[in-house]
């Protein structure tokens, strides 16, 4: 009836349909995070591998990168990075503890997105127990900014001071080598010492220790302590029958041994293959026996009557007191 009424009306009607539902489709587009490019590593490397790359291209502002290393089976974090600990750009240096062939992957991160690219292979050759190259410092028994001896110290090798020129107490101290009170030879030796010290710092620790090492026995390796080194009695370095066995001690503070303390070398361990990187002053006790080359980022004091089978190489002054310093066990 209503329809009839409408159609019959003579005047205009505002008529419309209540529309049936209609549908259609559309799209939106999602962007892409560009990965870094040109991830590079050297074909071969020592334990410190340099990883380089070119930053991600594209419009998205990358928040940072993290790096991983894969040995063909296992992927581990590299360059001290992680998805939550990013670095802003390359290159980075990764410290590898074991030899092998590796591929590095650099991943760019933007919020919840990541995009990666990988390097070629790098073959890492590590001589974890390789000795330090003392270079021009190898011929020195005592090398520091100054050398002072009290009493009849006897030394087998050279004695030098750099950058200072003070070498005092000779005689009564005596050396079979040459005394370089400053000069180019001493300077070169000091540079070689500095390089050897830096090399020692790069060695990857194989063990960590702390406290008094009285009674301890160490196998060949790189042994690290974050604190001071102390020895109140006897410690042993066991070469395991290998005359080439290398011992590197990384001491991130001072080194001190007590009076009468002793380091014993057994089973092929040799003082020429023992190194002490000391980030501070080093002091041995009176009448003690210390084995190996001391590389001190500070002063060295050899206790009265003490014996050092090795070398005393220091940034700062060296103080001796009626000591015996030689390179080998046999005088």
């Amino acid at each position: 009836m209503v329809l009839a009424i409408g159609s019959l009306s003579s005047s205009s009607a505002a008529a419309y349909w209540s529309s049936p539902a209609g549908s259609g489709a559309g799209v939106a587009s999602t962007g892409v995070l560009s990965p870094p490019s040109d991830v590079t590593v050297p074909a071969s490397s020592g334990s410190s591998v340099t990883v380089g790359w070119t930053a991600s291209a594209g419009v998205l502002p990358v928040e940072g990168y993290y790096v991983t290393r894969n040995d063909g089976a296992v992927t581990v974090a590299a360059c001290s990075t992680s998805p939550t600990s990013l670095i802003s750009a390359g290159p980075c240096t990764d410290t590898v503890a074991t030899a092998g062939t590796f591929v590095y992957t650099v991943t760019a991160v933007y919020r919840t997105w990541a995009a990666s690219a990988s390097s070629g292979t790098v073959t890492v050759v590590i001589a974890p127990y390789g000795g330090l190259d003392l270079g021009a410092a190898a011929s020195f028994s005592a090398l520091g900014s100054a050398v002072t001896s009290g009493g009849p110290t006897t030394l087998r090798g050279d004695v030098g001071s750099s950058p200072g020129v003070a070498v005092t107490g000779f005689p009564p101290a005596a050396t079979s080598g040459t005394i370089y009170a400053g000069g180019a030879t001493a300077d070169s030796a000091k540079t070689a010492f500095t390089n050897a010290y830096a090399d020692a710092l790069t060695r990857v620790p194989t063990t960590h220790f702390a406290g008094d090492q009285n009674g301890s026995t160490f196998a060949p390796g790189v042994h690290q302590t974050g604190g001071a080194f102390a020895l109140t009695g006897t410690m042993v370095l066991d070469g395991g029958g290998d005359p080439g066995a290398i011992f590197i001690f990384q001491v991130d503070a001072a080194l001190n041994t007590a009076a009468g303390s002793t380091i014993q070398l057994i089973n092929g361990a040799s003082p020429e293959n023992v190194f002490w990187q000391v980030n501070g002053a080093a002091g041995t006790g009176a009448n003690s026996t210390f084995e190996g080359t001391i590389l001190a980022n500070g002063a060295i004091t050899i206790g009265a009557g003490g014996t050092l089978i090795g070398r005393a190489l220091a940034v700062d002054a060296i103080t001796l007191a009626s000591n015996t310093i030689r390179f080998t066990e046999v005088p």
């Binding site: 009836m1 049936p20 259609g24 999602t30 933007y110």
Partner: protein
């Protein structure tokens, strides 16, 4: 007697109504429902379903917590009679409104749609209404790499 009276009343109402319309010549307001069709006297067109078309998105490509894209759309009345549009609903969905499952690890929950911008009203036959809707990508805090480079399907329903 009662039935006779009732029938008599109905006839009277019809007669009066017809008389009012035919005799008065006044304004009448006619309204069609969506499912209604004319019954002999109607000369208007049929109620044809609306269609929705859209344009390519404008704005930078989406990224987690990133820029906004705008998709313009048109609600079209392909019929000959006017049709009222009172609602446009947009969703991230496949054709026909089915759940979007084409990309493993990326789904409608990774995206957010704004309220469609459109002035609702009546579309004359062959006409259209224009509107737009915004799209963003939500930063969920979890891995959304699967969404990289994805074309996101939008499904419009106008009524």
């Amino acid at each position: 007697m009662t039935q006779l009276n009732s029938r008599t009343k109905k006839i009277a109402i019809v007669a009066i109504t017809l008389a009012l319309v035919l005799g008065g010549g006044g304004i009448a307001f006619a309204y069609w429902t969506s499912s209604g069709t004319g019954t002999g006297v109607a000369t208007t067109g049929t109620s044809t379903g609306l269609t929705v078309t859209s344009s390519a998105p404008t704005g930078s490509a989406l990224s987690p917590g990133g820029p906004t894209q705008t998709v313009a759309f048109s609600v079209n009345n392909p019929g000959t009679g006017s049709q009222a549009v009172t609602s446009v609903v947009v969703s991230v969905a496949s054709a026909g409104g089915a759940a979007w499952t084409a990309i493993p690890g990326c789904s409608a929950s990774d995206y957010s749609l704004g309220t469609p911008t459109i002035t609702y009203g009546t579309i004359a036959g062959g006409g259209s209404l224009l509107g737009s809707v915004t799209v963003t990508m939500v930063a969920l805090g979890t891995d959304q790499d699967a969404c990289q480079g994805v074309t996101v399907p939008l499904y419009f329903v106008a009524s």
